[in-house]
Amino acid sequence: MNTSTTIHTAPPTVAAHRRAKGKRQRHANRGYLFVTPFLIVFLAMLVLPLIYAAYLSLFREQLIGGTVFAGLDNYTRAFADERLRSGVARVALFFVIQVPIMLAVALCAALAIDSGLLRLSKVFRLGIFVPYAVPAVVATLMWGYLYGPDFGPFAQVAEKLGTDPPRFLSADWMLGSLANIVTWEFTGYNMIILYAALRAVPHDLYEAAAVDGAGSWRTAWSIKIPALRPALLLCLIFSVIGSFQLFTEPKLLQPVAPNVIDSAYTPNLYAYSLAFTSQEVNYSAAVSFLLGVVIVVASYTVLFATGRRSRS
C-alpha cells in the first residue's frame, strides 16, 4: 500500500506528518459520508423545489392561451399588489403585538420553574408545554368552538350575565383572537428553550451572586436574564418566521369567519389561494419568493438590532 511504503522510505518526521494528514483526510471523507443522507434530502426536498419555484415564477399560464415566459412581470405585479401588501402589514402588526407578549410569558414561566420556589413545578412545566404538543389543527378547531358567537362557552357566560357576547370572530377582534391561539400554542415551546438555557448557566455564578448578597429577584434580573439573551434571540427569530408564515390558524378559522378572513388575510394564505383557487401557480410562486425575501430581511433586521447590543 502506498502509505506503508512511504513510512518505510521517508524520514520519520515527514512520515508522521503525512500519516496525520492522511488520517485527517479520511476523517473528513467520513464526515461527508455522515451528512450525505441529510444532503440528499436537503437537495431533493429543499433546494430543487426552490429552484423549480423560482423557475415557475418567471412564467405566466392562462386557462386560454397556455404558458408564456413573463420575465419579472409576476414580481412587478406583486410589488403593486394591494392585497399582498395589506397581508404583509397585517402579519407585521401581528408580530409586533403577539411576539413580545408570548416571549414575556414564556420568560416568566421559565424563570418561575427555574427558581425552584414553585410547588408542583413539573406539573406546571408539563401543563404549559402541552398546548405545543396539541396539533395546530386541533388547537384551532378547539378555539374556533370556544370563540363561537352563539353557543361558545364565552358567549354562554355573557348571555347568563346579560351582556353582549364578545365578538371574537369579528373583523376588529380577529387578529387578537389569532394572536391568542398562537400564544397559547407556542408559549410552552419558547418556555422550554429558555428553561433549557437557564439550566446551562453555571452554578458558581449563582453562588457568587449569593455571596455578594443578591436575592432571587436580583439574581434573575442580573444573571439569569442576561444569560438568556442568546436563547431569547433564537426564540425571537423563530417567532419572526412563524408570524410572517402565519397560515394554519387563519386557514382553519376561515370556515367559521369566512367574511373576515379573506383569501389574502395573510401572505401565505394568499399564496395558497392563488395557487389552488385562482390557478395562478406562477404568480403564487413569485409571491412566495417575495415573502421569503421579506422574512430574510426581517430576520436579519432583528439579528442586527439585537446583535449590536449583545456584543458590546
Binding site: 426536498m45 426552490l50 401557480v281
Partner: protein, 459 residues
C-alpha cells in the same frame, strides 16, 4: 464562559430557518407547471365490438369519489364485467378532491380514470380539456333516462357529454312546523309572504330567525338566483364567456335578502360549521332553504328535532309560479388521460343508470336520484320518514326537480368566482352593507380575472 459559545453560532439558526421557510413556500407553489392535455380531435365512436373487447380485457380502473360505501354499486359493475377491477379512492369531499385532481392532472400522472365531479365544476374541468367526451361511448342514447335539467348540466357548449348525472339537489324549503305553528305562521308560498313571516317570527321571538342566508355559501346563493331566472354565466364560445353577475335579476334577489338581513330578521351564519349545526338543533333557524339532499342530511345532523320538520317548495317570486333552482349534486366524469376510456365510460354509465345501482344509491347512500325512473318509483317516492312526521319528502322534492330551469350555466373558473363571492356579496351580507355595490364589485373582480386568464368577456 459557556455563554460565549452561543454567540459564535448566532448567525446559524436564521440562515437555516430562512431556507426552510422559503422551501416550504416553494412547495406550496410548485403544484404545477406543465399545461394540460392537448385538445385534439374528438375521438371516433367506439363500435360494439370495441366495447365488448374492452369489457372482456382484464383492466384496472381507478375511481375517485367521496360517496360513502360506493364499493357496493361498484361491485355490481364488477359482477357484470368480471374482467374489470375498479379501485375506489376517497380523495376528499369536494374542494380537497378537486385540488388533488388538479395537481395530478398538472403533474401528468396519478389522475384517476373516472371521478366524481359536482355539476357546477364540470366547466372548470372541461375548459382545461381534462374531461372525456362520452358521446363516442354511447352517452347520447341515455339522455331520456335522466331528468332534463341534469342533462343540460352535463352537456357542453358543442354538445359534448362530459359526465353522467349521479345525484341532484333541486332546492326546496325545510321548515320547523312546530315553531311556525306556535307563532301562527303558515308556510310562506311567495317571497313576499316569506319576508312578512320572517319579520313576524323574529319580533315574536328574538332568538329565532326564519332562515339563515350563509354568507359563505355561494352554491346555495346560485340556486336561489337560478330559481329567480338569473343567468349570471354563459359560455358563448370556447374562449369567451358572458358575465352578468350584477344584472337586474341578481340585484333584485340580493336586495331582497340584504334588506331582511339589515332588518335583522334573517341571520348570516356560515353554514356547515359547529355553531350552525347547533343552531339547527336548538331551533335558532325555523327554516332551511336547501336542496333535495338536505332532508337526509338534516336527519343525521339535527337528531334532537326529529318529527318537527316538514318540506315544501321554495317560496316563489310570483303567486301561482312553481320554479326552482339546484344546489349541489354530482356526476361521474371520465378523465381524458385515461388509458381505458371504454371501460371507464361504461363504469360511469353503469353506476348512474343501471336500475339496481341507482336504487341502491337512493336507498343506501340516500343520494337524491337523477333518473326519471327512480323519481317515479313508488318505493322511493312514497317513503314516509318519521323525521318529517311521515311526510312523503322524496315525492315533494321529486316534483320540485321537474321545475328546475334547464338553461342555467356555470363559469369555467368556479373556485375563483365563489371565492370572490365570499369577499363581496357574502361580506356585504355579513356586514349588512350595500348589496348593489357588492354585486358590482363581484362583476368587476370576476371580469378582471377572466380577462387575465385570456377569456373574451361580454356582459
Amino acid at each position: 464562559m459557556r455563554l460565549s459559545r452561543h454567540f459564535h453560532h448566532r448567525g446559524a439558526p436564521s440562515r437555516v430557518t430562512a431556507l426552510v421557510v422559503a422551501a416550504t413556500l416553494a412547495l406550496t407553489a410548485c403544484g404545477g407547471g406543465g399545461s394540460g392535455n392537448d385538445g385534439g380531435a374528438a375521438p371516433q365512436g367506439a363500435t360494439q365490438a370495441d366495447i365488448d373487447k374492452a369489457m372482456q380485457t382484464p383492466t384496472q380502473l381507478t375511481f375517485w369519489t367521496w360517496v360513502p360505501n360506493i364499493e357496493k354499486e361498484v361491485a355490481l359493475f364488477e359482477k357484470k364485467y368480471p374482467a374489470i377491477d375498479v379501485k375506489v379512492v376517497n380523495a376528499g369531499q369536494g374542494t380537497p378532491q378537486y385540488t388533488k385532481l388538479r395537481t395530478a392532472l398538472k403533474a401528468g400522472t396519478g389522475a384517476p380514470d373516472a371521478a366524481q365531479i359536482e355539476f357546477q365544476y364540470i366547466p372548470t374541468f372541461s375548459i382545461t380539456k381534462d374531461l372525456l367526451d362520452l358521446r363516442p361511448y354511447g352517452a347520447e342514447a341515455l339522455k331520456e333516462n335522466f331528468v332534463d335539467w341534469t342533462w343540460g348540466q352535463v352537456t357542453g357548449a358543442n354538445g359534448e357529454i362530459w359526465a353522467y348525472p349521479q345525484d341532484t339537489g333541486p332546492m326546496g324549503m325545510l321548515y320547523r312546523k312546530d315553531i311556525l305553528d306556535k307563532h301562527g305562521i303558515t308556510p310562506p308560498k311567495t317571497w313576499d309572504e316569506f319576508a312578512d313571516a320572517a319579520r313576524k317570527l323574529h319580533a315574536a321571538d328574538p332568538n329565532v330567525y326564519l332562515t339563515n342566508i350563509a354568507a359563505n355559501e355561494a352554491g346555495a346563493w346560485m340556486g336561489l338566483l337560478w330559481q329567480a331566472g338569473a343567468k349570471p354565466f354563459e359560455t358563448t364560445g370556447p374562449e369567451s364567456v358572458t358575465l352578468k353577475l350584477n344584472d337586474e335579476t341578481s340585484k333584485k334577489v340580493a336586495d331582497y335578502w340584504g334588506g331582511l338581513i339589515k332588518e335583522g330578521v334573517v341571520s348570516t351564519d356560515p353554514d356547515f360549521t359547529d355553531p350552525w349545526y347547533q343552531g339547527l338543533n336548538r331551533g335558532k333557524y325555523a327554516a332551511w332553504l336547501t336542496a333535495a339532499w338536505g332532508p337526509v342530511f338534516l336527519t343525521g345532523s339535527a337528531k334532537a328535532t326529529s318529527g318537527k320538520w316538514r318540506a315544501a317548495p321554495l317560496p316563489q317570486w310570483g303567486a301561482g309560479k312553481s320554479v326552482s333552482g339546484n344546489w349541489g349534486g354530482s356526476t361521474t366524469a371520465v378523465l381524458k388521460g385515461t388509458k381505458n376510456p371504454i371501460a371507464a365510460a361504461k363504469l360511469a354509465e353503469f353506476i348512474n343508470s343501471d336500475p339496481e345501482s341507482t336504487t341502491m344509491m337512493a336507498t343506501e347512500q340516500f343520494l337524491f336520484p337523477a333518473t326519471k325512473a327512480l323519481l317515479a318509483d313508488p318505493a322511493f317516492a312514497q317513503q314516509k320518514p318519521e323525521f318529517y312526521g311521515g311526510q312523503t319528502v322524496n315525492q315533494t322534492f321529486g316534483e320540485i326537480s321537474e321545475t328546475v330551469d334547464t338553461k342555467f350555466q356555470w363559469p369555467p373558473f368556479l373556485d375563483q368566482t365563489f371565492s370572490d363571492w365570499n369577499e363581496t356579496l357574502g361580506k356585504a351580507f355579513a356586514n349588512k352593507s350595500d348589496t348593489g355595490a357588492a354585486l358590482d364589485a363581484l362583476q368587476s373582480r370576476v371580469t378582471t380575472y377572466a380577462k387575465s386568464q385570456g377569456f373574451k368577456v361580454e356582459s
